[in-house]
Symmetry: C2
């Protein structure tokens, strides 16, 4: 039997753990729990996600390496959305016995590649038998209590910043599932969209810029709120408005779109992807206009102010053309988990 065809049931739990431990820092392995140092005066920030084969990922569109990258990225994005730097993740795996050992190694390789960009270790986990591949990741980070980004602190007058383009991930998935689509796209444009889906970047890099701009020496909580756009840009804006008891006015022409959309999609299609596609893992931040402009300038690469927080309770989407009626944004049109 060659290495490629080796299955999980051939080497058992202990054999698999031995392989997976190579992806963890050596000093952390082999106790009932992992021990990590935290800095004083920091709060602990914790988030968890469960991914199920056939529900959240599929061999048809995603290699095990990309499944690993994406599942790590989703959790790190939640940390970034809270203003937290990452300390580590734990990985709970449920595996059928006939899964290739190589598949599991590739999964860990993908997770590690994403995590290593931020020096975040896999600090522990569990591997169990299951009839369906299940990946459960818990990420934990730390943040100074004055620098936590809650979604319920948006204030009237705040500018609404997005840290990058929206719609690319959903369009990339569409191109993977329906390869006949996008005939007008160049190869590089097609690959760029697909990569946006397979290798999304959690925006932990935004935080140091943000703190620098907002004067971190202040003894008060910093004037920034927001969340990530993992469930769609529209969802993020509506969630922030609901949590903060405010409204929002969004200028649709300001929403940064992938350049590849220009020669492929209508304006309406492009906006649909951007607002409701999801999984772009950008941050949607509300902060006063002056620091907002500075942040956008320093971020570059598609960052933009797309609107303003206003009084009220609805998020309205308009454009520069006064003839188009405003549209009320709604929560994600993404698939609803349990409905048949």
């Amino acid at each position: 039997m060659n290495n490629e065809s080796l299955q999980v049931q051939d080497i058992g739990e202990q054999g698999l753990l031995k392989i997976l431990q190579c992806f963890c820092p050596a000093e952390i392995i082999g106790d009932d729990a992992a021990v990590l140092s935290t800095e004083p005066d920091q709060s602990l920030v914790v988030t968890t996600d469960v991914l199920v084969d056939g529900v959240h990922f599929s061999d048809r569109t995603t290699s095990p390496k990309d499944v690993g990258w994406r599942s790590a990225a989703a959790n790190l994005s939640d940390l970034a959305a809270m203003g937290a730097s990452g300390l580590g993740i734990t990985v709970g795996l449920g595996l059928p016995g006939n899964v290739a050992v190589n598949w599991v190694e590739q999964l860990y390789q993908g997770m590690t590649e994403c995590l290593q960009q931020y020096n975040i270790p896999i600090v522990g986990g569990d591997v169990v038998r299951s009839p369906v591949i299940t990946i459960s990741i818990t990420a934990f980070g730390q943040a100074h209590p004055n620098r936590i980004i809650y979604r319920n602190k948006a204030r009237v007058g705040d500018a609404i910043v997005v840290t990058g383009v929206h719609g690319a991930s959903a369009a990339g998935l569409e191109l993977l599932v329906h390869s006949q689509l996008g005939g007008s796209l160049s190869d590089s444009a097609r690959l760029a969209l697909i990569k946006a889906h397979q290798r999304p970047q959690p925006r932990l890099d935004v935080l140091p810029l943000l703190w620098q701009i907002l004067d971190p020496s202040s003894p008060l909580p910093l004037p920034v709120s927001g969340m990530d756009s993992s469930d769609g840009l529209a969802d993020a804006i509506v969630q922030i408005c609901r949590a903060s008891c405010v409204g929002a006015v969004i200028n649709s022409t300001k929403i940064p779109l992938p350049t590849a959309f220009q020669n492929w999609l209508t304006k309406e299609q492009a906006l649909e992807y951007a607002l409701y596609g999801g999984e772009d893992f950008e941050l949607v931040l509300c902060l006063p206009k002056e620091p907002a402009s500075l942040l956008v300038e320093q971020l570059g690469k598609g960052a933009a102010i797309i609107g303003t927080i206003v009084e009220g309770s609805t998020a309205l989407l308009g454009d520069d053309n006064q003839k188009t009626p405003d549209q009320v944004l709604t929560l994600s049109r993404g698939f609803r988990h349990f409905e048949s």
Copy 2:
């Protein structure tokens, strides 16, 4: 449709989350991640477990409330085994659409009942669709760096303490699966064994006593090592010996057994349950003889010194009778996850 027959797919993810949030502290809900305070000078301790329906639990032997209790208890036991006090847990749930909402509520009720004994909150989670019920728990705790209980610090001459009786949980499971067994047991003895299986107690209560006995004002790491006996008492002893590069001599007559075993099992059967049954969730601690005796005295209820750490690399089981040859302890004979 009455409430009892309501299924997860009838109320969707959002409906279910609304119900489950009642089990979480209100101030923690509704952001990308949960925020927790930690004390300065404490290390973060993290552990994770995945439980799969049909693999780790079954409706035949375990009610949803007991599944909840046991899954919380297993994680808290890992924290206790590291010397950590609990800060919170996250719960990732994979659920088929046809699971009764009431089943999920009972699961959370059971987890909460176990956690509330130690004031540990459920701080977050994820609920997703899955073909099989999957429960993934990550527990967070904190411990002073000098008070962390590693398994690789056992020293020659240490007494080996168990914090309570062993074998009760496995015997309780056996009685649940094969109800014709144990005909000689009184009803109360039978129920006590079954309860030991359904409602194991993580031994976080041991830690304050231990610190008090070991002089917590010392600036040095405290002289205690060990782990929990979740995978069996023999497994714990062998793991400690391997990690610490030492041997152990165990006196089988000192291993505390459930009183119910006396009129039911042979000496050999009783020892088999105690050594290899698993899931008793007691602590196996190695520490100098004097504090070990004090600890056993203060713990009462089945706590005992069962042996001594010696030079070498094997864990030998003997008894007071010099005619019986010593037996070498091996790792758990518990089921091996992936082998068919």
